[in-house]
């Protein structure tokens, strides 16, 4: 079974600085997807960025980028130029690339609470 581990329960960053959130996962599959979701106090789950395992190039979305190390099974999220609105719980998630049914479910880590200091 696949597992996702986020070893940092809480992180803090100064506004305008850069922070990296860690995520490791365990799987025997070779094709899968990885996601970072943001959950602000409003509780809404917002997709931040996603990575396809067969792509070597790291995904980027504006100030958000990932460092995907497939061999090490590591998927960290880097937030550049941090803003107050980035404060939230961040979840790393895994999904199998096999289509259909329960294999399409997201497997979540336990989350990292990010605080942004003004």
């Amino acid at each position: 079974a696949q597992t996702v581990t986020q070893s940092q329960p809480e992180m803090s960053v100064q506004e305008a600085e850069t922070v990296t959130l860690s995520c490791t996962y365990d799987t025997s599959e070779s094709d899968y997807y990885l996601f970072w979701y943001k959950q602000p106090p409003s509780r809404q789950m917002i997709l931040v960025i996603r990575q396809e395992a067969y792509k070597q190039q790291n995904a980027t979305e504006n100030r958000f980028s990932v460092n995907f190390q497939k061999a090490a099974k590591s998927f960290s999220l880097k937030i550049s130029d941090s803003q107050l609105g980035d404060a939230a719980m961040y979840f790393c998630a895994y999904r199998s690339a096999r289509a259909g049914g329960a294999t399409n479910k997201l497997i979540f880590g336990t989350g990292t609470l990010l605080a942004v200091q003004p």
């Binding site: 509780r43 917002i46 396809e52 329960a102 399409n104 479910k105 997201l106």
Partner: protein, 114 residues
């Protein structure tokens, strides 16, 4: 755009009571999911549906039932609520189970069982 809408947003129940959580999506998505979120445990899949009229068990299905009578709605039922079911419940949907189909989440329902 409404996306995924969950009702109610908050509810307090007594042990043994029953209730139904409603999830509605207006994106014509085939797949729908119910997750629960507990402190320190991330989100876990309760039940899911791959299309109208079909449902299947996820990771933690005990104590819950679901129905997908209409494509746009996915109902989660608690027949006899227990304190262990105190949680935040999230509904999600995706276009299909195909490659690179992201799941869209509702805002969650906070359920407390006394």
């Amino acid at each position: 755009n409404a996306g995924v809408t969950q009702t109610p947003k908050f509810r307090v129940l007594k042990t043994g009571q029953s209730m139904t959580l409603l999830c509605a999506q207006d994106m014509n998505h085939e797949y729908m999911y119910w997750y629960r979120q507990d402190p320190g445990m991330g989100l876990r899949l309760i039940h899911y549906s791959v299309g109208e009229g079909t449902t299947a068990k996820g990771e933690v299905p005990d104590g819950y039932n679901v129905s997908r009578l209409k494509k746009q709605n996915f109902l989660l039922g608690l027949e006899s609520a227990a304190p262990s079911q105190t949680s935040v419940y999230f509904c999600a949907s995706s276009r299909s189970g195909g490659r690179n189909q992201p799941q869209h989440f509702g805002d969650g329902t906070r359920l407390s069982i006394l």
